[in-house]
């Protein structure tokens, strides 16, 4: 039997007004112009473009059955957040109908509605109230919330004394335990420390397993594939594709990679998020001699050179470079927080270099993921999920050192064999004789 629907979008169109906001003068003068028979276009020309609009969603039809973990991917401005806002009733469609079944909880921002002057305890009740819970209902869940967020010690302290990670944890816990049927998550798992992110994803996974519906926007395909059975791929306000997670994720990655090859500069800008105080301007892979390369023999030194640009001075940013295997996740993460000689304040442009000396990577395709975060690694300034892609080939044996590596084409590199596992580790198998008397 098909499970009942949790969400249904019926030819939904959402138009936003952009440009400068209207004032009373605009309103009065447009009425006045109307009386004098002037046309609207003249009004727009005279007073600036007030009525410029963008179509955030165009005629979107979508049906999400209960119990679905739905990952939503797409470039910035594709309409992902608008979709969540429509489902949560924060905003309403210009045309069409959004039908929702059950109690919706939106995590568009963790801890929205918390007040820093109030204690953690008071904010739990305030936040749960915003999600529609009564005091008694909140009291019943209070211990679970505190336990999940791990804030028992600070629960009676004003929240302005909390770290931002703690703030996010408590916000997440309140939402998760407020008995939702549908949970909307928008990139919020980009913050917080790794243990929290893991627990958060596990908690969302339990909700899905329990028949709840989770809509999950993320640039992180790895988290999406861990959590979601289906993926919705949005593009320019329309549904590009909707289907099984593994299939859509693969198509999406392929396209991003094609974009990178075809138009490195534009693609570089498209699939990224972050607050933008400082951003990567270019990323380059080279071998130990500084020659650009996309094919790296295993255990040969690999160098990632990245230039950054900060429009304003940024204090102690942390540069992170991770090698990611598209199928199984992060292989290794490096961060400059452990480097002693980083400047305290960076401004303008600069270059960082990360040297992976003799990485024992198995022959596979990898993607670089690059981040710049604040000192505490909570706010991402720049997130580049799909950085340059590269392939690791078989280690050079004395016999094939002479073979020139064909530069560039990583798809047809002959030496790639997709073995299981990511790294070479020296190992030895021993067959211990069974202690059975025959």
């Amino acid at each position: 039997m098909k499970s009942p629907l949790a969400i249904q979008l019926d030819h939904v169109t959402k138009r936003y007004r952009v440009g400068r906001s209207r004032t009373l003068v605009d309103l009065i003068s447009s009425k006045f112009d109307g009386l004098r028979g002037k046309r609207d276009e003249m009004h727009i020309e005279e007073r600036g473009r007030i009525d410029a609009t963008i179509w955030a969603l165009r005629d979107v039809c979508l049906e999400v059955p209960e119990g679905t973990g739905l990952g939503i991917i797409g470039r910035n401005g594709a309409g992902k957040t608008t979709l969540l806002k429509l489902v949560s009733r924060v905003t309403w469609p210009t045309r069409g109908a959004v039908r929702v079944g059950g109690h919706v909880v939106s995590l568009i921002e963790l801890g929205a509605g918390f007040h820093p002057e109030l204690t953690g305890r008071e904010n739990v009740f305030l936040g749960a109230g915003l999600f529609g819970l009564t005091r008694r209902e909140t009291e019943r869940r209070f211990d679970e919330i505190v336990h999940f967020a791990d804030v028992a010690r600070l629960i009676d302290t004003p929240m302005k004394r909390y770290s931002s990670g703690l703030y996010a944890r408590l916000g997440f816990a309140v939402a998760i335990f407020s008995d939702p049927d549908i949970v909307l998550v928008d990139e919020v798992l980009a913050v917080g420390d790794a243990p929290f992110r893991r627990r958060a994803v596990e908690a969302l996974g339990r909700l899905i397993a329990g028949g709840k519906t989770v809509l999950f926007i993320s640039h992180d395909l790895w988290n999406i594939r861990r959590l979601c059975t289906d993926i919705l791929w949005m593009e320019e306000g329309s549904v590009r594709a909707y289907g099984p997670a593994s299939e859509i994720a693969e198509r999406y990655m392929d396209e991003i990679n094609l974009d990178v090859l075809a138009n490195p500069d534009a693609a570089f800008q498209s699939s990224r998020s972050g607050t933008g105080e400082i951003r990567y301007a270019s990323v380059e892979l080279t071998d130990s001699a500084g020659r650009p390369t996309r094919l790296v023999p295993s255990e040969e030194t690999l160098v990632v050179r990245a230039t950054y640009r900060a429009d304003r001075p940024v204090t102690r940013p942390v540069f992170q470079i991770a090698i990611v295997d598209v199928d199984t996740g992060v292989v290794v993460t490096t961060a400059t927080s452990s480097a002693a000689d980083m400047p305290g304040v960076v401004a303008g442009t600069g270059t960082i270099e990360c040297r992976f000396a003799h990485p024992p990577l198995r022959p596979r395709q990898y993607v670089l993921r690059l981040l710049i975060t604040d000192t505490r690694q909570l706010t991402p300034y720049d997130v580049l999920i799909a950085g340059p892609r590269f392939a690791v080939t078989r280690p050079r044996s004395p016999a094939n050192t002479a073979t020139a590596v064909n530069a560039g084409d990583i798809e047809s590199a002959k030496d790639i064999s997709e073995e299981d596992g990511l790294v070479f580790l020296p190992y030895e198998f021993v067959h211990c004789t069974a202690a059975v008397k025959v």
Binding site: L5, I7, Q8, Y16, R17, S21, R22, T23, L24, V25, L27, K85, S88, R89, V90, T91, W92, A97, V98, R99, V100, G101, H103, V104, S106, I108, E109, A112, G113, H115, E117, L118, E122, F125, L126, G129, L130, F131, G132, L133, T134, R135, E137
Partner: protein, 263 residues
């Protein structure tokens, strides 16, 4: 069961959310201030002193036989409840844009919480009024029982105006400065510093259209003078207040779907 209507929250959850936002507002306003909630008294008290000097001593404004400070204060407390509510209520949705654009909940709770938080100021200031009554030996008579009726009118009118200005201010930020100026003028067009009886006959209709006239005069006649209110005036403003409240609430609920888009 799918629905294209907004989710309903239970009346209990609604009320508690209102109380929590009120608490958040009051705590935010008075935390880390030495005088704390005492500031709720400062405003009407200071105005009472100034009014006593300017209008009573210098201007020789009549106060109908009651001590002028009491005469003014009984009107200043409801006035400041109204004006502070409208003042902070007008900008409240914009101030709370973080939650308005990120979660769904019945939007009117935000301006309502502003009114509720000013209600606490109202009661604190009213407590001082009891002391003043004792000091000037003014007793409460049977007509004092009518005061709660004017209190209800005051709340309905304040909520109505606040809902209206707060919704409008989301779309047109000019509303706030206009409201600021209007409130300043409104104080002098309401019989707060002077009795309605001192207003020349030909200006009376203007005062009848202002529900606050009958509300402050009503508080005055029932509490200070212990006599019947002007029934026809009270009935007119009662009707006006209900009309304003209903119109404002309907307007607000029509507009609130678009708040998050333009805020």
């Amino acid at each position: 069961m799918l629905t294209d209507r907004a989710e309903r929250i239970s009346p209990a959850a609604y009320f508690e959310l209102l109380m929590n936002l009120t608490k958040r507002e009051v705590r935010g306003r008075y935390s880390q201030s030495l005088f704390g909630i005492g500031w709720a008294i400062a405003q009407p008290l200071a105005a009472m002193i100034v009014f006593t000097i300017v209008f009573s001593r210098l201007g020789r404004i009549p106060s109908g036989g009651a001590p002028y400070p009491i005469f003014a204060y009984v009107a200043l407390v409801p006035w400041f409840f109204f004006s502070s509510s409208v003042n902070s209520g007008t900008v409240s949705l914009v101030t709370y844009r973080d939650i308005v654009t990120k979660t769904y909940f019945p939007r009117e709770i935000v301006p309502l919480a502003q009114v509720c938080s000013r209600l606490i100021d109202f009661f604190v200031a009213a407590a001082l009024f009891v002391l003043l009554m004792t000091y000037y030996r003014v007793g409460l008579g049977p007509w004092g029982l009518l005061a709660p009726a004017f209190f209800v009118l005051l709340i309905l009118f304040t909520v109505g105006v606040t809902l209206f200005t707060s919704a409008l201010n989301v779309f047109y930020r000019d509303v706030n400065p206009v409201v600021q100026i209007a409130l300043q003028l409104w104080l002098y067009l309401t019989p707060v510093a002077y009795p309605l009886s001192a207003v020349p006959e030909r200006f009376r209709p203007l005062f009848v259209l202002n529900p606050l006239s009958s509300i402050v005069e009503g508080f005055r006649s029932s509490i200070v003078f212990d006599r019947a209110p002007d029934w026809s005036l009270a009935a007119t403003s009662g009707g006006l207040v209900v009309a304003v409240f209903v119109a404002a609430f309907v307007t607000f609920k029509r507009m609130d779907k678009y708040f998050a888009d333009v805020i």
